[in-house]
Symmetry: D2
Subunit: 345 residues, 4 copies
Amino acid sequence: MVKVGIYGASGYTGQELLRLLIGHPNADVVALTSRKFKGMPVSEVYPVFAGMTDLKFVDSSPQQLVPSCDVVFLALPHGEAMLVVPEFVAAGVKVIDLSADFRLRDVSVYEAWYTKHTAVDLMEKAAYGLPELYRDDIKGSNLVANPGCYPTSIILGLAPLLREGCIDLSSIIADSKSGVSGAGRDLQLGSLFCEVNEGFKAYKIGSHRHTPEIEQELGRLANTAIAISFTPHLVPVNRGILSTMYADLNKRVSSAEVVDIYRKFYDGEKFVRICKAGGLPNISSVRGSNICDIGCVVDERTGRVIIVSVIDNLVKGASGQAVQNMNLMCGLPEGAGLDHISLFP
Amino acid sequence: MVKVGIYGASGYTGQELLRLLIGHPNADVVALTSRKFKGMPVSEVYPVFAGMTDLKFVDSSPQQLVPSCDVVFLALPHGEAMLVVPEFVAAGVKVIDLSADFRLRDVSVYEAWYTKHTAVDLMEKAAYGLPELYRDDIKGSNLVANPGCYPTSIILGLAPLLREGCIDLSSIIADSKSGVSGAGRDLQLGSLFCEVNEGFKAYKIGSHRHTPEIEQELGRLANTAIAISFTPHLVPVNRGILSTMYADLNKRVSSAEVVDIYRKFYDGEKFVRICKAGGLPNISSVRGSNICDIGCVVDERTGRVIIVSVIDNLVKGASGQAVQNMNLMCGLPEGAGLDHISLFP
Amino acid sequence: MVKVGIYGASGYTGQELLRLLIGHPNADVVALTSRKFKGMPVSEVYPVFAGMTDLKFVDSSPQQLVPSCDVVFLALPHGEAMLVVPEFVAAGVKVIDLSADFRLRDVSVYEAWYTKHTAVDLMEKAAYGLPELYRDDIKGSNLVANPGCYPTSIILGLAPLLREGCIDLSSIIADSKSGVSGAGRDLQLGSLFCEVNEGFKAYKIGSHRHTPEIEQELGRLANTAIAISFTPHLVPVNRGILSTMYADLNKRVSSAEVVDIYRKFYDGEKFVRICKAGGLPNISSVRGSNICDIGCVVDERTGRVIIVSVIDNLVKGASGQAVQNMNLMCGLPEGAGLDHISLFP
Amino acid sequence: MVKVGIYGASGYTGQELLRLLIGHPNADVVALTSRKFKGMPVSEVYPVFAGMTDLKFVDSSPQQLVPSCDVVFLALPHGEAMLVVPEFVAAGVKVIDLSADFRLRDVSVYEAWYTKHTAVDLMEKAAYGLPELYRDDIKGSNLVANPGCYPTSIILGLAPLLREGCIDLSSIIADSKSGVSGAGRDLQLGSLFCEVNEGFKAYKIGSHRHTPEIEQELGRLANTAIAISFTPHLVPVNRGILSTMYADLNKRVSSAEVVDIYRKFYDGEKFVRICKAGGLPNISSVRGSNICDIGCVVDERTGRVIIVSVIDNLVKGASGQAVQNMNLMCGLPEGAGLDHISLFP
């Protein structure tokens, strides 16, 4: 059994990690840290865990966690993860960091969009934790930067087109829509029920921090720098991200051919499903599961390809993908503990 | 492996059975019937199953199913289940009937609230499938009448008080609130999104068909006839039932003492959790799980006890409890395939 | 034109008052106070007002407001309203207080459920602002205590039965369900979208502060002290309260007779509608309007009467009723500015 | 008073027309037709109207309506409106048609996307009922084709850019999101609460029937043929459309300059509000009102302009705009009966 710690476990991604890991056949959660809820049973903070675990939140330093953990998940805010990662890595504990601190490879880009980086030498050692693209890197790494939720949906959605080289790289637009859990459990006016329910809005157009992460990874796939337009929106649902992506085709292909390209690209992937031609995905079909569903349409009138991808932002967009990365890093079956069928309705 | 058929599998309870049984370690679903969707892969009707199963709907008669099934779940409308149950039972196939056809023990009551019964001799042979109360009956039976969703929440909520004998039996009121999936997947005006969303209403006050079922079971617990007031309401959520129950106490007990009575009554039960004194349950804590959470309050000013119980109407209120019954009938661990932690948020 | 000030105008009831008063043919809003948003245009805090008004929030003392206002609405928290009411009243400004500070007539009851009262002498001078019951008091008063949202729904729902004298006064139960705006715009974990959406719960059973207000008013109607069980629940909708009320009948009456009693009692009332026998109300039918819809059922099997009432908690449950009171106090037509048809869907 | 008939009044747009017209100071609704609900009071089909009107649905022919009506609104399905329009027009009754039958000017385009047209001669006589663009046409016309909901949001959103001539006309993408009332009140699986709630999906990508209408109007603004990519999505809310529009700029302009262009273009318009630079609209700010809110952003990194517009699909996207058109056709103040402040929350 892999001994697991969750560092900064009190938010929605932390509790989702716990849900997944309690049901994992090869993992034991040995510690959950939270300064705020120190000493409290996790089942008091999240009643779903009543009777499922006796774990209590502790307020431990990395040094205190090291002896008992094989793997640590970091569910800390950006800027805080980089403060503890070096200690875990130095002590030989495998780290899966759910923050943005080790996702970007260019320090200057990180510092332009976030804050000063204090562990620059580790940035290039981190693997980008998108298993469908970087499985071998992840297997060989002790530090995995778990991708952002929006980036996961967009990169998985565009990777086959970029590898195929059939789109105009300057034409990419990603219009994304996220459920509210993506904003976390912090007390913010914009997260209140009455402010969100029966509403719908775009936010941070052209300025969301996930933009450089998306562009970095699309650029790696295309072997050249790429700039995109990325527009996030807020949907009044608990979970789910749907990204609608547009690009100009540079050659004639049909919807069916695009579906073929996607099916080949993701052949054998357990967590990516391609809709048949004409089919389009719904976030309600992936709720609670680690799956990414993708639909492909060619708009022949305009010569554009439109790709729609959906994930559960807390699972494939965060904690589920983190567990998938743990499985790879620890030599476990990649899908261990991740066989949930989506909960519908 | 237990070979399982689901008869009338195209509604929400049918697909929920399939979700639970695909993940069940000791069961194989061998057939799904649906006249309407005959020949279609279940993954086209419910996209959550894409990649999870290759099963297609068939339109088979009981005779055709009998040879391949050890157990059959019936997810048919009231009045239709009774038409096929005798054949399955006669052939030695274990039957778990999710309709109301075998829940009532008094034919005249059934016929007063439903329709003419065509399999009267089997009514008394059926076990009432509430394992926390009738575990042994269920183990020994080949025909289990799976309880209604409202009755499950109310009977589990009141059983300890009735056994304890501390309430006035003429004073019981159950004010219940159900999510919309309880109305099924039929096309009805009242189930349209715009008719339900941002709304809340009571319906069928004093006349809902679950009333005689609730009264029968409360009466068995109290060893005397009981009449209650039962008011169902519709909540704009997908899943969940919350029942708020009121009764006049016939002796002084505190909230803490009532909690104790409940803890003792349900001691060792895997699927019932009692909130600590002062605690109250939320349907969001049981979503997707087979658990019933119960909170207990004594209102000392009025001498009343108020009990609040919550279940997921599609799981403990239907398909999960049906699987629990299958486990008992087949000698499997009672909780096999039912260890889901609730999905929150 | 009546010159109106709104004191403490930044919450949902404050903005709802503004919505209603901007559309009022006989009122001019001359001042909105908010310490928090001082200096900001109201249209920045609530974008619905863009282009509708140029008003900005001010941070004014009562003395500063007095010269410009004929009427002041107080949308302050309990305990704060009593600090400013005396000054307004002394200066001859009519006051409609939306807090609980002047609803209770018995100081000791107020102080037991709330806090020390600092304006005791004004308590008995305040009229209880439920026009359907106390129209004349309100017309003659300079200080009106606007009723709570739950009390409005329950008192209107039970008044005809109490006046008729046909129920057992010790048997009254009110099971109420409120939308989320009732909790206000404060930042609380329990008001976050993800904590509320797809959930349903009871809270503060037997201990909600509206209990003594409800009991006071039911007692006045019955001419004797009354204790009830009151259970509030939280519904995942923005607006609306539905109260389901139970009482034992002390004589035989049919549903149709109860409907008649209600129709007579509320004859000529513009803001109360009685459903025909068999009909039940839905909160979605009163959204945005000042109307209370009431349905009546006799459960002959148990000898109970069940009454269901619905209001919009922000309108008839708060700001709309406050405007209705202003109309009465100022000699305007009672329905002026309150002729909105509910917004459906 | 203008005497008004609503033909085909039983759906959501019909009842919304009735809501608006009951509150209209210069209009009297004299007839509501519905084959389905013939003889029923409208308050039984839509309880919001209880006590507001005594109108009953009638099943009248155009000939029967003509004598009593100055204006008729047609809320019929596409293909049915064209069957009755000629008779009303010939009789001198002003017609506002909410269907698509008279929106397109090119018969062949209509017939390619819809069905055979039976009143071709009236197609060119119809005014396109978008007052902000075609006010004079509408004033002089007896037949107004009320725009589609998606087209209204997109055309208002792009008109200033097209007139300014600052975008690449081949680069336009409209990514739209609609609430569920846009699908009407028909019984469809896809409109059931449990199918929609907690879901989000795109549909009819590149093939939605509003595409030619949008392209026709954008082309008129640009004086050249335009093809766009249009992707509709379904949001789990009752009301509201948000359209996110993308176009490549053909010259450098800042966000502030685009805001200026929009403010000038819509100067004096009562129903269009432009957010200040940096601001973005939310559908919850226009719920129940006839307003279109627009936000403008230039993404300097990619040289694109992104416009976000929001409307209430049932008001500015249908019935409200229809009343605005009636006002213009009848010489009434353009905003008569349309001064509702949005209902929030």
